[in-house]
């Protein structure tokens, strides 16, 4: 089981701020995870429509889409940050 957390309009479109899911064996990278989530329903497909603007942090560290998800306890998906 891995904890997924969502922020900003990705959270709004998916309709929840977090959930726990079981990752299928063929989900090896972040790109795989985004592809898998898009099959979970229309709200996910809409939220993750443009993968290029989906930022991902694993265990609270920013990661690339090509990075592996192994070892992840918490995976966050969010749009580009607008701090400051």
């Amino acid at each position: 089981m891995v904890k997924l957390v969502y922020f900003a309009w990705i959270r709004e479109r998916i309709g929840k701020s977090e959930e726990e899911i079981e990752l299928p064996d063929d989900v090896e990278t972040i790109a795989d995870l985004i592809g898998h989530l898009r099959t979970r329903g229309e709200e996910y497909a809409l939220a993750l429509q443009v993968p290029e603007v989906v930022h991902v942090a694993i265990n609270q560290e920013h990661r690339q889409h090509s990075d592996p998800v192994s070892g992840a306890r918490e995976i966050a998906l969010f749009p580009p940050m607008t701090g400051g």
Partner: protein, 153 residues
Amino acid sequence: MPAAPTIRVQAEDFDQQEEINALTAGKCDIGAVVSFTGLCRDEAGTLAALELEHYPGMAEAQMRRIADEACERWPLDGVTVVHRFGKIAPGDNIVLVVTASRHRQAAFDSAAFLMDFMKSKAPFWKREIRKDGSEGAWVDARDTDHDALERWQ
């Protein structure tokens, strides 16, 4: 070695003078202190507030990484970074960066560096709340914020 950076994410406002004093109190080797305050801006007069969302835990961790990086790049005697979350009205403070150094250029450059990284590398998101009650938009990341990062590579 600089003191460990002071990093805070909070709903409450901050006091620039207090934060500056905390960095300089009792020290005689600091020649320059630069503070940057980012405020909620509303030129059109249609904004009731910004609602700032953040990723608790990662926000602090990321701010600390950016501050540590600044301490490696410049000879700093102190760094403070405070970022607010929640509802923030036009004219109110959002973010504070304070840097202290022997040298004025190090204080200026490190404060600019910290702000550039806070803008696009710290997990905060801003949403507009309009005066007329309509649902405001999420504030878009600006290309200029990403361009600003490139000068530090």
